[in-house]
């Protein structure tokens, strides 16, 4: 009981002191921050995942391109929440406290940063599918606050055109995503709209986690002519299962992300995650030099390249139009 009272009084005492001292301390650090020679940038990443890791590498590359190099004039504080959202808050507060610019990778991380950081600290988004509907910016053209960055909207129209060119007679397209994955859901619905507009039939299937994939996918491939795998962490990590199920009935899988083609996807038109990070890094450097995030529109990286998996072509006996093959071997990637 004594120990308890001592602990409680220590906490109350600390809070009392902080209440009196804190406002001064805060204004001091804010004045000092921009004058220092080494710029402190905080990066908060939602979890370890190939696509997210590539975005982070891109951010560092983009900062370097603008003359900010770690070890010289840049200090990067990097925290990864490993998918545990209960830690996002304390991590984002820790970064908000010591860094003059923050980078959020994946939606919950960016939201946590936006909520913890003072409105004067700029935040750069990297790889958030829909910054406006996630409440991060007022609109993508006029962010209006301290937040801007790059948006990772998938080139769904291009991807659909590719699928249609390869399989012109396919009518029903199966789309499978994790119901609790925000990115996957957004991407899947955007793609379904494109399919509908083109007069074909999109069929949506959801899994609650990767354990359901085998069964739901088996059900799906019996009802569709080809499969689209959206930007979904769950589906991406279990891509091999999905490919096995689909290839058993000679159906191709068209994924949307770079890492999913070597895992057995047939072909895709992808935007480079690293490029998206790089653009975010360049934007971060420009904001650090005084550009106002409120009027700095969110950049959507649209240009991408074709990726084709020749192993899959042979396995499924599918021919890909010569023009696309040429484009892939010249500007994209062909996996032999």
């Amino acid at each position: 009981m004594k120990r308890m009272l001592a602990f409680i009084s220590a906490i109350l005492l600390f809070l009392g002191v902080d209440l009196v001292v804190a406002p001064k301390a805060a204004s001091q650090t804010n004045q000092a921050a921009p004058k220092t020679e080494v710029v402190h940038v905080g990066i908060l990443q939602m979890m370890t995942h190939p696509a997210l890791d590539q975005i982070r590498q891109g951010v560092v590359a983009g900062l370097k391109e603008e003359g900010l190099t770690t070890g010289k004039n840049l200090k990067i504080d990097f925290l990864n929440a490993q998918g545990d959202q209960s830690n996002l808050k304390i991590m984002s507060q820790q970064l908000a406290n010591k860094d003059s610019l923050l980078v959020g990778i994946a939606t919950p991380a960016a939201q946590a940063l936006a909520n913890s950081a003072p409105k004067t600290t700029p935040i750069i988004l990297a790889g958030i599918s829909t910054p406006a509907t996630s409440g991060l910016v007022k609109s993508e053209a006029h962010p209006g606050g301290n937040i801007t960055g790059t948006s990772g909207l998938n080139p769904v129209t291009k991807q659909f055109e590719l699928m249609h060119a390869v399989m012109p007679h396919a009518k029903k397209i199966g789309i499978i995503y994790t119901s609790s994955d925000h990115g996957g859901q957004t991407n899947a619905h955007a793609f379904a709209r494109v399919v509908k507009q083109a007069g074909l039939i999109p069929k949506l299937y959801t899994i609650s986690n990767t354990n359901d994939l085998q069964q739901v996918a088996s059900q799906m491939v019996s009802q569709v002519d080809m499969v689209y795998a959206p930007q979904d962490n769950g589906v991406a990590s279990a891509m091999k299962t999905l490919v096995n199920v689909a290839n058993n009935v000679n159906i191709p899988v068209f994924p949307c992300a770079e890492t999913m083609v070597p895992d057995g996807g047939l072909a895709s038109y992808v935007i480079s995650q690293k490029e998206m990070g790089r653009v975010a890094g360049v934007m971060a450097a420009k904001v650090l030099r005084g550009k106002n995030p409120a009027t700095y529109p969110v950049a959507t990286v649209k240009s991408g390249y074709y990726m084709i998996n020749k192993k899959e072509m042979r396995k499924l006996h599918i021919k890909i139009p010569a023009a696309i093959m040429r484009a892939a071997s010249q500007h994209g990637k062909v996996i032999k």
Binding site: D18, P23, N80, G83, S86, P108, S179, S208
Partner: protein
């Protein structure tokens, strides 16, 4: 300095979860897995209600009711359906995921730009992080007092006896099934309330925000017990709150020391394991005697 305040605030907010689990884990004597579903449920209901224009106070109350409904279902499955408690909890937790997705209409709903408890005008003039300290502190003090008062009543005493000895409770004419259902509903209502407050503090609700929270709740209970020793029931409730704050301090220290965040889960697991083993270690290493000597030097 700032970060310590922030940890205290976070500790106070998450303490609600510890108190909730204390009711089932320590008093009723079983581990209730439902919380990993009712926590995001409370968050989902509250955040969706706020975005639909409901006042934060009402929305938070709805979050409490949602959580309580989840607990009620677990209680019915356990007592009436004779499903083992661990399984009943896991079933409801799993089901909650779909319910949460339906409620939110997606997997993530943002609160940025919406009115919440944390956006109230009073907090703008205070230093940073005092919003969570005041809201967390106010809520936890209120809830703890209410629970302490409840446990003093006849109903509360019957509730405690049910956890201590079911057979004896039944022979005293206590309907142990009803007590279990009551405990689970109340506990999960508080979990829903915790979800509601933490979602407002974080600025969003996410379908995956329940993952791993049972560890946080257990940590508060166990750290509180280990650090503060033998206590009366009401003091134990306070120990849970302090345990929750200490757990946040530990996380803060681990982060400040620059450990890779990949190791964070392992580190929390190790800390918890040490806390759980401490009574045994204390006995084996005769730490008790040494501690007592140290205390007696300073005079009791």
């Amino acid at each position: 300095m700032n970060l310590i305040t922030s940890s205290i605030g976070q500790g106070l907010l998450w303490a609600l979860l510890g108190i909730a689990l204390f009711l089932t884990f320590r008093i009723l004597n079983f581990a209730d897995m439902t919380v990993e579903g009712t926590f995001p449920l409370g968050a989902a209901i509250t955040v969706t209600a706020i975005t639909k224009g409901v006042s934060p106070l009402m929305a938070t109350f709805l979050g409490f009711l949602g959580g309580a409904a989840g607990g009620l279902i677990t209680g019915l499955l356990y007592t009436k359906g004779k499903i083992p408690i661990l399984l009943a909890g896991i079933l409801v937790m799993t089901g909650c995921l779909s319910v949460n997705l339906r409620i939110m209409g997606g997997s993530n709903v943002s609160l940025l730009g919406q009115k919440t408890f944390f956006s109230a005008k009073i907090f703008q003039s205070l230093p940073r992080y005092f919003d969570s300290v005041l809201i967390g502190g106010g809520t936890i003090i209120l809830i703890t007092i209410l629970i302490a008062l409840f446990l003093e009543t006849d109903l509360g005493q019957a509730f405690i006896v049910t956890g201590d000895n079911q057979m004896m409770a039944r022979s005293m004419g206590i309907n142990t099934d009803n007590m279990t259902i009551l405990g689970l509903s109340l506990s999960n209502g508080l979990v829903g309330l915790a979800g509601a407050l933490i979602a407002q503090s974080n600025g969003y609700a996410d379908a995956n925000m329940g993952i791993g929270i049972i560890v946080i709740a257990l940590a508060s209970i166990i750290i509180g017990e280990v650090v503060f020793g033998y206590l009366t029931l009401n003091q134990r409730l306070i120990a849970v709150i302090l345990g929750s704050i200490i757990y946040r301090f530990v996380l803060l220290i681990v982060l400040q020391l620059g450990f890779s965040t990949n190791d964070l889960n392992l580190i929390s697991a190790i800390i918890l394991a040490i806390c759980l083993m401490l009574p045994t270690l204390r006995h084996a290493l005769k730490l008790d005697g040494i501690l007592r000597k140290g205390v007696s030097q300073y005079g009791k």
